[in-house]
């Protein structure tokens, strides 16, 4: 597993940090301003929906130009020319490969990593570094936050979630390393704080200075402590040291970046009672994060893998997971399609909002690559080939949108991720089970 080197990234920071892309931040008009003659930066995001989708409503009729969007993707009509639908991609590492049941846990943990999750209820959690974290390693030093991890469902509260797999696997999309899952932020108020909380006033600077000397002191101690403890214990201490280092780097970076944007919206009050509003709020915050160039990399888990949430406002009172085992029952499939359509609506909200922000010679969406999909294809079969995947945006990045592209069966989805990295200027040869870079 290619592990990106954060310290290397840090060393490189001095050279690039003086040239953040944005000079002033979003104006009331929702317009971003190009400071330098260079191109607007590329932003990458990955959105996940659980339990597969009703494929007949998802898959476009023919390969090639997308004249008609399939039912589930209809909400994307207004930005159809920025939509690429991919067929034929697979997540092989979501399959049992000898590990037995647990397709939900594996579907999410393999989606961005291309790695087989270690089957464990808690001991030695392991997957692989996820593509967003590879991106954060390459792009993160240019923004206030290297990456943003959000989701609408917190980790499960009890038990193992799927046939002997710890709940970590079915609730986490981003993996900083093979052993470190990155929890997602669920509360929109806290997402807001992360994006805009750091005020640039003098008291903040004082506080940061103090924090840095405090972190300095504890780092010294932790490092010496590390030498005294047993091997097994070192791992936990390394996690601590890594996280401390991360904060130090971020503070150092913040000093050199322009002050954070004044957010055009008020701080959200917390988690809305309605799931739909919750998703909308998170979607809007994601738009702001990109618009203000606070981060260039994001992951967004719309619901945890295996989620059994009902969607009563869609006349779907049954749990999503229960329904997904539809046994070809038409009325269940219809309900699943309703859920799929609802989720696509969120993608459409994201896409249209991004396309409404002018940036450079195009829109913000033109400079984004937003992947959306599931690590399960049909929820009933738990198959991990023929995955539902769409890519939004990339109009100014040479992505030819408005297409349905059919790849040979079993093409690893990680090949698509490598292609996205490449568009962001990050040439990587391998990610998990990838076999090459897809043409997009």
């Amino acid at each position: 597993m290619a592990q990106f080197n954060r310290r290397l990234a840090l060393r490189g920071m001095g050279a690039t940090i003086g040239l953040p892309w944005l000079e002033s931040l979003a104006r009331a008009t929702g317009e971003t301003v190009s400071a330098q003659a260079g191109q607007p930066p590329v932003r990458l995001a990955w959105l996940y929906v659980p339990n597969g989708v009703h494929m007949p409503n998802w898959r476009p009729g023919a390969e090639g130009k997308l004249n008609d969007l399939p039912v589930t993707l209809k909400p994307l009509e207004s930005i159809r020319n920025q939509v690429s639908v991919f067929t034929g991609l697979a997540a092989d590492k979501a399959r049992p490969n000898g590990d037995g049941p647990g397709d939900h846990a594996r579907a999410l943990s393999a989606f961005l990593t291309g790695c087989q999750a270690r089957k464990t209820d808690g001991t030695n959690i392991s997957s692989g570094i996820s593509v967003d974290q590879v991106a954060a390693g390459g792009l993160g030093h240019m923004t206030r936050l290297p990456s943003l991890e959000i989701g609408a469902e917190a980790g499960a509260m009890a038990g193992n979630c799927d046939s002997g797999y710890s709940c970590v696997y079915s609730s986490t999309m981003a993996w900083r390393s093979s052993s470190q899952p990155l929890p997602k932020e669920v509360n929109p108020a806290l997402v807001f704080d992360r994006l805009f909380g750091a005020t640039a006033d003098e008291s903040r600077k004082d506080k940061d200075r103090l924090r840095r000397s405090v972190l300095d002191t504890v780092t010294k101690d932790a490092t010496s402590l590390r030498g005294k403890i047993s091997t097994g214990d070192k791992r936990k201490l390394d996690e601590y040291l890594d996280s401390v280092r991360d904060i130090e780097v971020r503070m150092a970076r913040a000093e050199k970046l322009p002050p954070p944007a004044k957010p055009p919206i008020d701080r959200p009050k917390g988690v809305p009672a309605s799931y739909a509003e919750h998703l909308e709020l998170l979607t809007d915050l994601l738009v702001l994060a990109f618009q203000t160039d606070t981060t260039r990399v994001a992951t967004f888990v719309l619901a945890n893998e295996g989620s059994n949430r009902p969607y009563p406002w869609l006349q779907v009172p049954e749990g999503h997971h229960d329904l997904s085992h539809h046994g070809k029952n038409a009325s269940k499939q219809e309900k699943i399609a309703k859920i799929n359509l609802f989720h696509s609506g969120m993608l459409a909200r994201l896409g249209t909002k991004l396309s409404a922000v002018r940036e450079g010679e195009g829109s913000l969406l033109d400079h984004c690559l937003i992947a959306y999909g599931s690590g399960n294809s049909d929820g009933d079969r738990h198959n991990h080939d023929d995955l539902p995947v769409v890519l939004l945006g990339g109009g100014k990045l040479g992505v030819e949108g408005g297409r349905h592209v059919v790849h040979p069966k079993e093409t690893p989805i990680t090949n698509l991720w490598l292609a996205m990295l490449a568009k962001a200027g990050l040439q990587r040869e391998k990610l998990g089970d990838s076999t090459g870079v897809l043409k997009i």
Binding site: G100, I125, A158, S163, L210, D216, N329, K332
Partner: protein, 762 residues
């Protein structure tokens, strides 16, 4: 870890175990063709079947058992397939070999990496340390679950997001605890005209009131112990050429100070006395010492100010120093004291020195030693020594397992029972080396204390999965009466049961069968119960009546008249979390009983088989039961489903929210079912009787869960002996909860750590 899991996932007690099962015949028939010799598939050779050889290749055998159980092996392409009963016999026989070996194995306390404090532990610990009452962990990302609990050392990771939250949480807590600018002390100033003895016409006194005999005083109620200042403004009228003498008094007798009163109307004097007062009503006043010779005091006002130190007592304790000490000394003293608590008695000199240096430098820069000390405390709270429960010490490592230090034991004990740091009593016992000797009495004290609520709120609901109730969303169309209050009430009923077990040391068997419960009006109505004797709304005449159950408050309800309730099996909380939003789920209910109460979870469904095929349309099956029975006709599912469903059907008399019902989708309810082993049951009560008869299984399951919670790790085969010890001790202790806790605490894995020989290699 895989191993124990595997042992537990056997569908034990087959309906018809083959009488003449032979391991070698089974292997020869189904496995050996591919798994032998150098070219064995998957490098797994299964030729040698003596126990020693099987144990030698334990991992390989475990894997093959798991895959056989899961239906992956022998591969589907093979014509001859073992029957479910044969698979079970195969599994049992191999596992028996492992089990026998484990009981003979060398003791191993297991590996517990440093445990990060979870959200609950962090909040409790900070509260105990600083006396601030707020939840600093509200913003923390949720802790991941490992082996069923959120205190699992391995899964408690520390991502940057959390480290950042730790920093701000500690800053906020310290800001709340240590106010650098204390508020001004309270003052009460009373004009002399209102002093006692009371005047008929206070208005007659213009500015000064004359005191020419006895005293003037005011009555004042002190509410807080502390230093107070008593102050007067007055001037003296001379008698002859002598100035009057006055004394500041408390009550009629006690003199605090004496003053010669000079001055005149234009230059009155202010004079005062300082004293420590305790909460009480006082008269404080001014006495003229030499009445009768023309001398008098002209008093303008009396004033009481205090307590002078307005800091809360916790803060005063935290920052208690001698005024005479140098700032650096004050900082060192305060931080040493603080680190000892925060680092749970394990203070490393070098680490402390680093913090003290930082604090002294910061205090000097800001010319404020308290500000410096506060910075030092921030470093102490962000140190891995606080955030993790480290069990390092200066003793040389040993080869063999060895005892924790008493301080380490105190910490483990405290986080186990209280989810917070050890209190003063535990620390003092541990410091004196007397904890082990007083272990039982300490455990009893701790369980009775309010803090053991942590166990009630964290262990039981996670074990029994009641937390899932928080996200349970029943279909509004089918259950329009469900609301948040009902959800809360369901949780509360369960909590009351656990509270009684923990804090009043009730029998753990109450979990499966209690003759009482706690209900409020809402839940009682949901259950169809009206009074505290458990009588039903339309109860039969002639039964003893209890008090009606009214309002939000929970009251104890005797269930002698209500056999459908009592123990968790009849609780709405459990019956709901094992249901789907629109209907009951016999599978989930059966699985829950097998897994959480009997410790024999069915193996997970084989891959690619849907949980429940919808056959309603294609057949005439009307009820859920009929549809499921059809589904079970698939042989791949039948073995285990038979167990889960048959057991789950016994609960069909309860709807998806745990209310009683006699019809489902218009059809009469059939609550007949079957237990593992084939015994027929006719409803929940029969399942309950079965559990009571087979309570050892339940006790063992609970012992295992409690061990996992206490140790913060999953169990391994090496723990088998310890678990058996706990089960035995619990039985001997009359199934009291304290008996189980004591046995867990005294078990080797809890009291010891691994020797060097058992550490994994670098």
């Amino acid at each position: 870890m895989l191993l124990l899991n595997l042992l537990l996932t056997t569908c034990q007690q087959s309906t018809n175990p083959p009488k003449d099962f032979s391991l070698s015949a089974f292997v020869n028939r189904h496995c050996i063709q591919c798994h032998q010799g150098d070219k064995a598939k998957g490098s797994l050779s299964l030729e040698k079947l003596d126990p020693a050889s099987i144990l030698k290749n334990r991992a390989g055998w475990e894997h093959s058992v798991e895959r056989t159980q899961g239906g992956d092996m022998p591969p589907a392409s093979r014509k001859t397939r073992p029957t479910p009963a044969e698979i079970e016999a195969f599994t049992n026989q191999v596992n028996a070999i492992f089990e026998a070996a484990d009981l003979k194995a060398k003791p191993d306390p297991g590996l517990v990496p440093p445990r990060r404090l979870n959200r609950v532990e962090y909040a409790n610990t900070l509260k105990d340390l600083l006396g601030v009452d707020f939840n600093p962990a509200g913003d923390f990302p949720s802790d991941d679950i490992g082996h069923g609990f959120d205190n699992n050392a391995e899964t408690l990771s520390l991502p940057p997001l959390l480290m950042e939250r730790y920093l701000s949480a500690a800053e906020t807590a310290l800001d709340k605890a240590i106010q650098l600018k204390a508020p001004k002390p309270a003052k009460r100033n009373l004009s002399a005209r209102y002093l006692e003895p009371a005047l008929k016409n206070p208005g007659d006194v213009k500015r000064f009131r004359e005191l020419k005999d006895d005293r003037l005083f005011q009555t004042y109620k002190v509410t807080e112990t502390g230093e107070y200042i008593l102050r007067f403004k007055a001037y003296g009228i001379r008698g002859g050429d002598k100035a009057p003498d006055v004394a500041i008094q408390i009550g009629d007798k006690r003199i605090l100070s004496k003053h010669k009163l000079e001055g005149d109307e234009k230059n009155p004097q202010v004079f005062e006395a300082k004293t420590t007062l305790r909460p009480k009503q006082y008269q404080f006043g001014l006495r003229l010492e030499n009445p009768g010779d023309g001398r008098a005091a002209m008093v303008e006002w009396a004033e009481i100010e205090g307590p002078i130190d307005t800091r809360p007592p916790e803060l005063r304790n935290l920052l208690a120093v001698q005024d005479s000490q140098a700032d650096a000394e004050k900082i060192r003293l305060v931080l040493t004291r603080f680190a000892r608590k925060a680092w749970r008695g394990q203070v490393d000199k070098q680490a402390l020195q680093g913090v003290v240096d930082l604090a002294i430098a910061d205090g000097a820069k800001r010319k404020d030693w308290v500000a410096g000390a506060k910075t030092g405390m921030l470093a102490i709270l962000c140190s891995p020594r606080f955030l993790f429960r480290l069990e390092t010490d200066d003793r040389p490592p040993r080869e063999e397992p060895y005892d924790l230090t008493e301080m380490q034991l105190a910490s483990r004990l405290s986080y186990f029972l209280w989810s917070t740091m050890p209190d003063r009593e535990l620390v003092e016992l541990a410091e004196d080396g007397h904890l082990m000797a007083n272990l039982d009495s300490q455990i009893h004290r701790m369980l009775k204390a309010e803090k053991s609520g942590a166990l009630v709120e964290n262990f039981f609901p996670q074990w029994l999965q009641i937390q899932r109730l928080d996200t349970f969303q029943p279909d509004k169309g089918k259950f329009p009466f469900f609301n948040e209050q009902l959800r809360k009430s369901m949780k509360m009923e369960a909590q009351k049961l656990f509270e009684e077990i923990v804090q009043q040391d009730a029998s753990i068997l109450n979990i499966i069968n209690a003759d009482h419960t706690w209900l409020n009006q809402r839940l009682a109505r949901h259950y169809g119960i009206t009074d505290t004797k458990g009588n039903a709304l339309m109860g039969k005449a002639g039964k003893e009546k209890g008090k009606p159950i009214e309002g939000e408050e929970f009251v104890r309800v005797e269930l002698g008249n209500t056999p459908s309730r009592g123990g968790v099996l009849g609780m709405a909380a459990i019956l709901s979390v094992t249901s789907n939003p629109t209907r009951t789920s016999p599978v989930k209910r059966g699985k829950w009983v097998l897994e959480q109460l009997m410790g024999t979870p069915p193996p997970p469904a084989p891959p690619n088989v849907p949980e429940l095929e919808a056959t309603a349309k294609s057949s005439k099956a009307e009820t859920l039961r009929q549809r499921m029975e059809l589904h079970r006709s698939n042989p791949a599912c039948s073995t285990c489903h038979q167990k889960m469903d048959a057991l789950g059907f016994a609960f069909e008399g309860f709807n998806a929210l745990g209310a009683l019902r006699d019809k489902d989708e218009g059809q009469p309810i059939d609550a007949s079912g079957e237990l593992p082993g084939g015994r027929k049951v006719a409803g929940m009560q029969d399942v309950r009787s079965y559990l009571v008869e087979n309570k050892d299984k339940f006790v063992k399951t609970m012992a295992e869960r409690l061990m996992v919670y206490a140790l913060g790790r999953g169990l391994t085969p090496a723990d088998r002996k310890a678990v058996e010890g706990v089960v035995e001790a619990t039985k001997k202790g009359d199934y009291k909860f304290s008996a189980m806790v004591k046995a867990v605490v005294r078990s080797q894995p809890f009291r010891q750590k691994r020797g060097r020989d058992q550490e994994p290699a670098e």
